[in-house]
Structure formats: structure tokens, C-alpha cells
């Protein structure tokens, strides 16, 4: 079958009313196996002869490895292989990296460790218990070097170098100006300056990263059972790293216990399992435990210091934005400046700001490396912008809502090109704001706040209006390089639809199950397309041998991309069915339609053929079918990003790379105990616009989960490395804190639907929304609570100790306003 070019589709108002499944809160297909303990996560998979791996990790942040004595470990009964970094380097390549700079990384350190928790030896044994026993018997002689901890200090040319292959620790620096920033600042009536500090956090899914690797030396082929995401997007990177031919590697996806962006590659886990299976000739499973994951995952979030300024004209309209950022990347640079490419999709937020200066210094230190974590760099971007906007409201004595109204992009201005070149597809930001203010009954809370203040209690009402870009394009990973190592431009998603001879539909996904709902979504779309019930549709997951190129979940893209892929595949199947049925009916295909699971001449329901009738013909009756028709009823459809364009050579226009832009307004209500610094969230209101809702209940689930993660970011989540020796203080869940049910407030959500003109059904992404907005909204709420005491939040997480310190500092500075 030939591929059909996808035109840019505008939503047809007439069909919205006709929709039967798209837009309904259909119960999840994924649930039964998850509820009954039948889902197979990596940890559940067993193959005969399987061994278990454990890893010995460096206690030091920065050290040379002088020697390693593994003899006692190797002699322990049950131990089958013990690999140092040097041993592993003979079996597998260094980690795949997407950076242009020479920042080599081995899954198991060779000669030098660069962060506390970096792997030094890997053991394969008959059980994890024995493998850990073996690790305890390994002696490593380290020459401890000074730890590079503070990113500002790390920038000093005299600072110890994290990598000797680089001239210094500033691995990347670039400033790009979009629009005439200088002019806008020069002519501004007001310039608001703020700084902000966003600390290092990570995804912490309940399930860690893991891989079971099985190497067959006789065919030189390898099978992986893994919770990696990119097995259908970049399988050749794994093959290359494992030194297996790309056509002899098979990656089998397992159910994934959460990812939030952190399981895109999981190279270290794969390389360790791969090296051990090669060394032992047996299948080896490496499942991270929680310490492995916290200390050494591939994917922590941004760790940024912002120095920012907002230029405002005489009418209170924002004109220019300046962002100067130092970002602590940790010891490696696997995804390069990807979390800044991401932030450049929406740095000016929902506002008509026309110029932007973005200067970023990516700094290496002796910490666990950045990758992607829900929000992927646009989360702190939202924080700094909204802090500036709130500061502007204060400065200009404008109501917070009013200043936003004055500056929002207007509905008639869409599609809207922001200064960086990205496109915002559609939006109605004032509509969302109005709904949110009404939903939260802000007047009621203002009265509560006043009552509370009279009693010496501090209640705060937050407000944040933020973008939730969705549907990423690969260009964001590399476009800040003039000469990128891999200037990939494809970010597709594929599905296979096959219709059995009985007319029953099966969809095979190219993406894994992360905890989002791909099975449910595709069932709804197929049901909509064919006029069947979602329950009639079977859904399975392909492995990496399917050729179904799929970037999988991430960047809030999956519902958008699966809608496109399924619709595309459905159209091909439907077209073929119509051609075959028309031939059987002796009718013109143009006069035949597929409705409610039946194929019939238009306007003649009585002459309908069931899908089974048609499918049987397609499968087995070639001589009865049209001449050029192949037998069978199956297709794989690859849906490439429907609205993307390339960056210009000078990078003054980065192209459209994240054009589906959802938007939300969050209003948290908090109470701050000013003596202890403890912040309690009393209630949380959110109005979210992610275009056409595919399944409202599922969208709400994503939003709520993201909000609670955002509350974590605002109040408690943080990596702490010792300032002196760089050791990691937050290596278990007793130190790195996640919000529990007790810290999660009641969340009230309302939707607005402003469909996208670029996607099937007008859907936009929703996966990251909650977390993109909540930290900012919480900062705003704490500010509002502590305004009479002169505190403004410029650092997250705002732990109780930081709140107390900020209050003390404000007191010392004689802070506090009289508007009590």
C-alpha cells in the first residue's frame, strides 16, 4: 500500500457532535492485568538459567581508581562473573551520547569515577542476594580527588576538571537572541529583575530501570526484556553499544511501572546487563534497586540558577525577556542541552513577548547526570517567567489576573509564532483564567485569608498561567549546536492494524505501556473509525523487530501521535475494505462506506456486508477481489510529526518543534506555619485546556498525578550533595521525599477544549501539564501567604527550613508590607 500524504487537518465542527468514542471516559483496557498482578514488569520475567546482577558503586564523588581486587568476590559460590569497567569495555561500547562534545561515559567506570554512586564493578550471580554478597567482598583502592560540587565554582577555569577531555567544566555555552532584545530593553518603561533557583530532582517511578539480557554466542544475537522506551525509536543505538548487529538485537518491551521521562534509554542498565550476559553466556537480569536508581539513573531534571529580566512598556505590556541560566548537568552530558531545547518551545509563556535573549551555560559537576524528567526543562522556565510576571504585577500595582489578561496572546492570533520560532497552535488563555478564578471562588478565599491573618495565620492563594507544550520533535535535542552530531528530524509513531478473517481488529503498538493509556486510546480511535466498540478491539505491543518506528511516550506526545497513526492505519484498512466490498457489490468505491462495523452502499444499509464478510474475502479470495489487490488486511502506518519545521542555519528561528500547546491556570490554596515553615495545601484548583479531550477521566488522572509531583517539587524533592566531599545525602526514599497521600490535597479540575488545528481530532498532549504548572503555582501561593511578611519565593523546593530562613531574612531586612 502506498502511503497517503497527511494534509494539515482542520477540525470539522460537524463531526465533533457525531463522535461516539473520542471524548468519552471509557474505562481502561490496561487495568485488569495491572489489578490482578498479571502484568509482566521486567522484575517478573524469568528465563531458564537466568542470573542476577548487582553493582558496586563508588562512595566518592571524584576519584581515580588505582586498583580493584575482585578475587574474593569471584571465588564466592554462586558468583559467575565479576566485571570491572575495563572488563566491560572489552564487551560493550561506551554509552551512546547525543552531545557533540567529547564527554565519554562507560556504564562501569574505567580508571575514574565522577559521581557518588557511579558503577565500579558489576557482578552476576545465582541470586541478587549472592551478587550483593560478592560486591561486599570487592576491594577498590581509590585516590580521592577534590569534589566539584558548586556549579558556579565549577565554572572557574582553575576548578578541578570533571573530564580531562574538556578544557573546563563549562561543557556548553551559547547565547541566542531572538527579536530585538536590546531595543526592547532600552525602550522599556520598567525592567523587572528576578533570580530563581530550581534544584535537582528526579522521576522516582515506583519501578526502577531494569533489563534482562540474553546473548546467544552461536548466532551473535541478543534479546533484551526491558523497560526502556526507545526500542522502536533508536534500537540501533543499543545494538551499537552492545556490539551486536542491529539486525540481531531484539528488545521485548515489558509493562513499565512509571517513567516520567526517565526510562527513555536507560543505557547504563542495558550495557551492564549486556556485558554480563556476554561474559557469562547466560541470561542476566539487572534490576536497579532504589539506591541504584537514585544514585545513578540516566535522567535527572534541570538544576538551574536563573538571572532574568522582563521589559515592560508604558501600558504594562511585556516586550522583552532576558534569561541567563547556569545549569548543573552533573558528570555526563548524554542528552546534551536537550532540556534547554525543550524550554525554548515556550520561554515567553502565554504572553505576547516579542523578543528573547537566552543564554545558557551547561556546567559539569560530580553529580548524577541530567536527562529528561516530566517537564523536561520547561518547568523551571515556567517558574522564572511567572515570578517575573507576579513581580511586575506588584511593581505596577496591577492585579495578577489583570496583568496577565493584558499580555495574553489573543485567540484570533493563533497559530502564533513565538520569538524562538516555535508555533503555538491554538489557545484561549483568558477563557481558562476566567474559568479558574470562578472555579476557585477566589473571593471566598480572600475572605478566609483575611480572617486567618487576624488570627495570626497565613493563607495564600496562588495563580499561575502556563503553557504545556506537547508533541515534541527531535530537533529540540540538537538545535543549539551549529554542528550537531545527529541532526535527526523524525519523531514518528507507528501502529500496525490487522483485521482477522473474521473481521476482528487488532492493533499492535510500537510504544510501551508506561502507566499512560495507549491501549485505551487506540481502542477509542479504532472504535470511532470503524464504528465498533472499544471492547471489540484487541491491543498488543510489538517488539523491536517490527520496524514500527515509534518514539513512544514522552513530551506529552502519545495521544496526539497514536491518534494520527491509528487514524492513518484505519484509513488504509478502510479504503481497502471498501475497494474489496465495492468490487463484490459491483459498485463504485466512491459510493460505498464503512459505518458501524459494516460496509454498505451509501444510503443502502440493507445491502451491508459485515467486516467479517469483507475480511474473509481479503484474506482468502484473491481471484474474487480487484486485480491489483494483495491478499490480507494488515498495515503498519508510520505517522510522522504532522507540523514540524527545521531551524534556520543561524538558529535565529528554531522552527516549529513543539506546536501543540496546551495551557492551564492553577490556583492552589496553601497555609504556611510561619514558625515551623511547614506549608500545607488546603485545596487545589486547575483549569486545563489540552484541546479535544480524548478521554476526560484519563486526562484528569494525568493532571492530578502531575500536580502532586509538582507539589513535591515545590516543597520537598531535592538531591543533596555534601558541599565538602560531594557525597550523596539523598540516596534512599527516607531522604529524597515524595508526597504521600497526606500531602496531596483535594484537586478540583475543569476543562476547556480549544482544539488543535494540526492534530487528528484536535487533541493536544496532557501528560506533563500538571507538573509543568504546579511548582510555579505553589511558589505563587506561598508568596501570597507571606506577602505581609516580605517574603517572595525564588527557590524550589521551598522546604520548611528555607521558609523559616526566608522569613528571618525578611525580618532582618525590615521587610513586610502594610497591606496586612
Amino acid at each position: 500500500m502506498s502511503s497517503v500524504e497527511q494534509p494539515v487537518r482542520r477540525p470539522d465542527p460537524a463531526t465533533v457532535q457525531d463522535r461516539r468514542w473520542v471524548g468519552r471516559s471509557v474505562p481502561r483496557k490496561e487495568d485488569p492485568k495491572l489489578l490482578t498482578g498479571r502484568a509482566a514488569y521486567v522484575g517478573d520475567v524469568s528465563v531458564p538459567g537466568m542470573l542476577h546482577a548487582a553493582v558496586l558503586r563508588s562512595p566518592h564523588a571524584n576519584a581515580r581508581i588505582r586498583s580493584i581486587d575482585t578475587s574474593r568476590a569471584a571465588a564466592l559460590p554462586g558468583v559467575v562473573a565479576v566485571l570491572t569497567g575495563a572488563d566491560a569495555a572489552e564487551l560493550v561500547e561506551p554509552m551512546t551520547a547525543f552531545c557533540a562534545e567529547p564527554v565519554p561515559q562507560h556504564a562501569i567506570a574505567v580508571d575514574r569515577v565522577r559521581f557518588p554512586g557511579e558503577a565500579v564493578v558489576a557482578v552476576a550471580a545465582t541470586s541478587r542476594y549472592v551478587a550483593e554478597d560478592a560486591c561486599a567482598l570487592i576491594d577498590v583502592d581509590y585516590e580521592v580527588l577534590p569534589a566539584v560540587v558548586d556549579p558556579i565554582a565549577a565554572m572557574d577555569p582553575e576548578a578541578p576538571k570533571v573530564h580531562d577531555t574538556l578544557g573546563g567544566n563549562v561543557v556548553f555555552h551559547r547565547r541566542v537572541d531572538f527579536g530585538d532584545v536590546e531595543a526592547d530593553f532600552a525602550s522599556a518603561d520598567n525592567v523587572i529583575r528576578r533570580t530563581a533557583r530550581w534544584h535537582r530532582m528526579c522521576a522516582n517511578p515506583l519501578e526502577t530501570a531494569g533489563t534482562l539480557a540474553s546473548f546467544d554466542p552461536f548466532t551473535q544475537s541478543m534479546t533484551l526484556w526491558s523497560n526502556t522506551n526507545f526500542y522502536n525509536f533508536l534500537p540501533w543505538t543499543f545494538a551499537n553499544m552492545l556490539r551486536v548487529a542491529s539486525n540481531r538485537l531484539r528488545v521485548v518491551p515489558c509493562t513499565v511501572g512509571g517513567s516520567f521521562g526517565s526510562k527513555h534509554l536507560i543505557n547504563k542498565v542495558i550495557a551492564i546487563a549486556g556485558a554480563l550476559t556476554k561474559a557469562t553466556g547466560r541470561p542476566v537480569k539487572f534490576m536497579e534497586d532504589r539506591v541504584d536508581n537514585l544514585a545513578a539513573n540516566d535522567n535527572v531534571g534541570p538544576d538551574r540558577i536563573y538571572d532574568a529580566a522582563l521589559a515592560i512598556d508604558g501600558d504594562g505590556v511585556f516586550t522583552g525577556l532576558r534569561l541567563e541560566i547556569v545549569d548543573d548537568y552533573g558528570a555526563y552530558f548524554q542528552f546534551a542541552h536537550g532540556q534547554h531545547g525543550n524550554a525554548l518551545s515556550q520561554p515567553t509563556g502565554p504572553y505576547r513577548i516579542r523578543s528573547l535573549s537566552y543564554e545558557v551555560s551547561c556546567v559539569l559537576t560530580n553529580k548524577v547526570q541530567q536527562g529528561f524528567f516530566r517537564g523536561a526543562g520547561a518547568d523551571p522556565g515556567n517558574l522564572i517567567l511567572e515570578r517575573l510576571v507576579d513581580a511586575a504585577a506588584d511593581e505596577l500595582r496591577l492585579d495578577r489576573a489583570e496583568i496577565r489578561r493584558r499580555n495574553f496572546i489573543r485567540p484570533e492570533q493563533f497559530p502564533y509564532k513565538v520569538p524562538t520560532g516555535n508555533t503555538y497552535d491554538s489557545g484561549n488563555y483568558e477563557g481558562v483564567l476566567d474559568k479558574a478564578l470562578a472555579l476557585a471562588d477566589v473571593d471566598h478565599w480572600r475572605a478566609e485569608q483575611k480572617r486567618a491573618r487576624a488570627e495570626g495565620r497565613y493563607i495564600g492563594i496562588g495563580l499561575a498561567s502556563c503553557q504545556e507544550r506537547s508533541g515534541y520533535n527531535a530537533t529540540e535535542w540538537w538545535f543549539l549546536y551549529d554542528t550537531p552530531p545527529l541532526p535527526a528530524t523524525s519523531t514518528p509513531e507507528s501502529v500496525k492494524i490487522d483485521v482477522s478473517a473474521f473481521g476482528q481488529i487488532r492493533v499492535e503498538l510500537g510504544c510501551p505501556l508506561w502507566g499512560n493509556s495507549p491501549e485505551t486510546v487506540v481502542s477509542q480511535v479504532v472504535a470511532e473509525e470503524f464504528g465498533v466498540e472499544p471492547d471489540d478491539v484487541a491491543v498488543t505491543y510489538s517488539d523491536s523487530t517490527s520496524g514500527a518506528i515509534s518514539a513512544g511516550p514522552g513530551g506529552s506526545r502519545l495521544t496526539i501521535m497514536l491518534s494520527g497513526a491509528v487514524r492513518g492505519a484505519s484509513r488504509r484498512i478502510k479504503d481497502k475494505m471498501i475497494r474489496i466490498a465495492a468490487h463484490a457489490m459491483e459498485a463504485d468505491p466512491a459510493d460505498v462506506e464503512l459505518v458501524d462495523g459494516h460496509v454498505r452502499p451509501k444510503g443502502s444499509p440493507s445491502k451491508a456486508m459485515s467486516m467479517g464478510d469483507v475480511a474473509m474475502l481479503a484474506h482468502l479470495f484473491k481471484e474474487t477481489n480487484p486485480e491489483n489487490e494483495d491478499s490480507g488486511l494488515v498495515t503498519t502506518f508510520t505517522y510522522d510529526h504532522p507540523y514540524a519545521s527545521l531551524p534556520t542555519k543561524d538558529r535565529k528561528d528554531l522552527g516549529a518543534f513543539y506546536p501543540f500547546v496546551s495551557h492551564a491556570c492553577h490556583i492552589p490554596i496553601v497555609e504556611v506555619d510561619v514558625e515551623t515553615g511547614v506549608v500545607t495545601v488546603l485545596k487545589y484548583y486547575a483549569v486545563n485546556d489540552c484541546g479535544t479531550l480524548m478521554n476526560p477521566k484519563l486526562v484528569e488522572g494525568q493532571i492530578m498525578g502531575g500536580i502532586v509531583q509538582g507539589i513535591g517539587a515545590a516543597l520537598m524533592e531535592e538531591y543533596r550533595y555534601d558541599e565538602q566531599d560531594g557525597s550523596l545525602a539523598t540516596d534512599t526514599w527516607r531522604e529524597y521525599l515524595l508526597p504521600s497521600m497526606h500531602e496531596a490535597p483535594e484537586i478540583v479540575i475543569e476543562h476547556q477544549e480549544t482544539p488543535s488545528p494540526f492534530s487528528e481530532y484536535g487533541v493536544k498532549g496532557a501528560g506533563e501539564g500538571g507538573r509543568l504548572v504546579a511548582p510555579t503555582a505553589m511558589a505563587s501561593a506561598i508568596d501570597d501567604a507571606l506577602k505581609p511578611l516580605g517574603v517572595t519565593v525564588s527557590e524550589l523546593p521551598m522546604t520548611p527550613e528555607r521558609v523559616v530562613a526566608a522569613l528571618a531574612a525578611a525580618r532582618a531586612a525590615g521587610g513586610g508590607s502594610s497591606d496586612g
Binding site: 489489578l35 490482578t36 502484568a39 542476594y129 515506583l206 512509571g258 492530578m704 527516607r734
Partner: protein, 176 residues
């Protein structure tokens, strides 16, 4: 080499007579010796409670207990809730109805903790649910739907929506 411990215990209604290494955690005994993969290891520190099973009717962190301690004990895991014919337990139905799960990794622990709660408090208020499940960490849902699900399960059970009790053998999907 430590001497193994002999013990008899009942798991999901089936009696087992086993010999275990003292250090084998109850969690690993269930998962690796009995192939009951529903209880999950989230932290092995007793913080997340994804490993929660019922021991003598009490919700217990199976990562903080040695199998060797369980002479004569009755253990129930998530695999005992649904009926072999595919009928979900009302609790599971409620979780599905209320969208109380996303990735499912914390879910078995939530279900078993909720099961215990409902035995003692058949119609729990939201605060009762938070008190009983507050130690179970979820990273996906934001908790609200879980609270709703357990509350709803109370109502469903009251309405007499069937409670299958046959313990099921461990079966799960195997990725090819």
C-alpha cells in the same frame, strides 16, 4: 552457610512446607519461590509499601519481614482477589471505575491495604482511607482517585456486588 529454616505456612489458601534461607525476605519468597509476582519491590526500605501483603489479616510490608518468621502464618496476596473466571473483586472493580491506577506498580500494595481497611471499616470515609493507606506511595495518580476508589468499594460491597474467594494460581502475561 546458615542453616535453613523449615516452616509451614499458608499462602492464598494453599499450604506450603518449605525450607528457606533465614535472610530470604517474605517479598522475595512470594515472588521467587511461589511465583506470585503481584507484590512489588519499590524501595526495600519500608517506605513505599508497594510490597504490602496480608499476614494473618494485617497489611504488612513484606520487604521488612523474613519468610522464616512465618511459621503457621496465613498470607494473602493480590492474586487471591479476583476469581479465576475473570471476575474482579469489588475493590479491583472500584479501582477500575475510579481510575485509581496508572502504571499499576503500587496497586497491589494499595489493594491489600484497602482490603484490610474494608474488613474493619466497611464504609470508610476519605480520612479513614488516608489513615490506612497514607504509607503507600504512588507516583502516578496523585492519590485522589485511589481514595475515591476505596470509598466506592465500600459502597459496592454493601450493595452486594459479589466477592469471589477462590484463590488463584499465579499466572501472568509473559512478554514474548
Amino acid at each position: 552457610m546458615p542453616e535453613k529454616v523449615r516452616l509451614k505456612l499458608t499462602v492464598n489458601g494453599v499450604e506450603h512446607d518449605v525450607l528457606v534461607e533465614p535472610r530470604m525476605l517474605l517479598l522475595d519468597f512470594l515472588r521467587d519461590e511461589l511465583d506470585l509476582k503481584g507484590a512489588h519491590a519499590g524501595c526495600e526500605q519500608g517506605v513505599c509499601a508497594a510490597c504490602t501483603v496480608l499476614v494473618n489479616g494485617e497489611a504488612t510490608r513484606s520487604c521488612l519481614m523474613f519468610a522464616a518468621q512465618l511459621e503457621g502464618a496465613e498470607v494473602r496476596t493480590v492474586e487471591s482477589l479476583a476469581a479465576p473466571d475473570g471476575t474482579l473483586h469489588p475493590l479491583q472493580q472500584a479501582f477500575m471505575q475510579e481510575h485509581g491506577l496508572q502504571c499499576g506498580f503500587c496497586t497491589p500494595g494499595m489493594l491489600m491495604a484497602a482490603y484490610e481497611l474494608l474488613e474493619h471499616t466497611p464504609m470508610p470515609a476519605p480520612d479513614d482511607v488516608r489513615e490506612a493507606l497514607g504509607g503507600n506511595i504512588c507516583r502516578c495518580t496523585g492519590y485522589q482517585n485511589i481514595v475515591n476508589a476505596v470509598s466506592a468499594a465500600g459502597s459496592m460491597a454493601q450493595a452486594g456486588q459479589g466477592t469471589p474467594t477462590a484463590p488463584s494460581a499465579p499466572v501472568r502475561e509473559v512478554p514474548a
